[in-house]
Amino acid sequence: MLCYKAWRESQTRFVLSAFTIAGLCALFVLFQGDARAGFDSEPLTYTGYIWRIIYKGYLRELYVFLVLLLGVGGLLRERDYGTVGFTLALPVSRWRLVSVRALIGLSEVAILAILPALVIPVLSPFVHESYPRTQAIQFSLLWTVGGTLVFAMAFLASVVFRGEYSAPVVALVVLLAYSAIADLPALDRFDVHDIMSGAATSDFRLDTSLITGPLPWMAIAVILLVSCCMVVLAGRITQTQDL
């Protein structure tokens, strides 16, 4: 039932996020003709257009922002709402409370990442285009990895910083700082934005905007490990907190 609680707490944010991502994907696909004409550069292929506007562009940025909002919450927020006493009086450990919330949140992050892979290949035939399903799934995997890191940042921030807006603002600032640092030549292979957009893959073809080589597994493993450490750290902090 802790899963149910975690789900109910994030339900509104998740459903709104899902409708926003799926709806925008559908709009970008169904009105691709007008949207493609709006680009100033040379004529775009359909796959290039999808990459520019969804997997690299606005929708990816929106996804990052929505994931960041999914990450906030937890016992400090409950303290502000006055329900923390009821929650902590339940015969469950704080670690379990934290891990269940993280599990539900990461599942939601993954589902949001999968939505473009469900919508784009299905709707593309309606505008006489096609988008490779395997490409869409690979991008979903990359979004899930990037989303996991962003979620973990917001998750950790909401354990440390009290206040409705403090945690998301701090997480956003940390994310911006991370993005700036990841632009350094030695660290650019760990730039989460490049990983999510596929640009970090060794054989990413700019002319077709398709991933043709293997995914950057080392960078993915490092990012997942760092995310896992942040969630564990959040659990450790929660265990010692006075609530």
Binding site: M1, Y81, F86, L88, A89, P91, V92, S93, D242
Partner: protein
């Protein structure tokens, strides 16, 4: 029978003493109801409500004590595994009675029952009817009185060994207070130990059989109410002339107040000896009345000040 103890338990945060050092306080089950009363907003920086709230939070493992140890139902409050096991048998109702606003009454009941294998569905159903709680209404749409009843239902349907309440009557209307006190008395009657904090002395006096008084963040009295009713006496003495000022230093005298020709003695014991002494000193009128908790409380905190 299991023991609840608090030994030198205290909490300091950012240099402020948040909770009193509770020295060697111990109470044993079965005990029907124990009230924690104190002064409100007098002893800066320790207010009674804060001290009581922090103490309760430490007992439940929500806040980690700076020093000291304690046990609830024989289980350590500082060991997380023992504390979790203890919480299976302890119910807690916080001061503001906030529950998950996004759930309906029915959802919250089902959520809570999933954590307690010994949940009494018949008790929950009976209390739902008795409290007239609308099962499909969201918690956010409930009044504070209704939320209090729901919190009580969630606590009592588990038949807890110990029920801890923080300012249970705070913010409630008189009808809700009455219903709440009845429920607490009934719970105590069914074998649940009730431990609660309050600055409403009349509420404490009605339902508690033991009282701990906190003043300036310190535990200054730990009384059995039955014993108090039996022993504490207010003796009002009238004298024809100016009464003697230093003649009442007798064992058992708690407080002496002289106003004109009238002497009021609050006696903790030995009231017969005090009356005899007063008569020998020429008292023309002697009235002996049982003393209430309010009077004992006021005199205790005055004495400590």
């Amino acid at each position: 029978m299991s023991t609840n103890t608090a030994r030198s338990l205290r909490k300091v945060s950012h240099g402020d003493l948040l909770s009193p050092p509770l020295y060697s306080t111990a109470w044993r089950d079965p005990l029907s109801a124990c009230g924690l009363v104190g002064q409100f907003c007098r002893a800066k920086p320790v207010h009674f409500w804060q001290a009581a709230k922090t103490t309760i939070k430490m007992l439940l493992g929500m806040t980690h004590p700076t020093a000291g140890t304690g046990t609830v139902l024989g289980r350590s409050i500082t060991d997380s595994a023992e504390n979790r096991e203890m919480r299976r048998h302890v119910a807690y109702v916080g001061e503001d009675k906030q529950l998950y606003a996004y759930m309906t009454v029915e959802q919250l009941v089902r959520f809570t029952m999933s954590f307690y294998p010994d949940w009494q569905s018949d008790v929950a159903q009976r209390l739902l009817k008795q409290y007239q709680l609308p099962q499909n209404r969201k918690v956010r749409a409930l009044s504070k009185g209704m939320r209090t009843k729901l919190a009580l239902l969630l606590a009592l349907a588990r038949r807890p060994a110990l029920l801890i309440l923080d300012e249970p009557t705070e913010g409630l209307d008189p009808v809700s207070i009455e219903e709440l006190l009845h429920a607490l008395v009934a719970a105590a009657g069914e074998g649940t130990t009730v431990f609660f904090s309050s600055h409403q002395i009349s509420d404490v006096e009605r339902i508690a059989d033991r009282v701990c008084i906190i003043d300036h963040g310190r535990l200054v009295a730990d009384l059995s109410l039955d014993q108090m009713r039996q022993d504490y006496r207010r003796i009002t003495l009238g004298f024809a002339t100016q009464p003697p000022t230093n003649e009442f230093k007798i064992h058992g005298v708690h407080q002496v107040k002289i106003v004109g020709r009238q002497v009021t003695v609050l006696a903790r014991e030995n009231s017969d000896v005090i009356v005899e002494c007063a008569r020998s000193l020429g008292a023309v009128s002697v009235d002996v009345d049982p003393s209430g908790l309010r009077e004992v409380f006021l005199e205790t905190v005055k004495e400590e000040a």
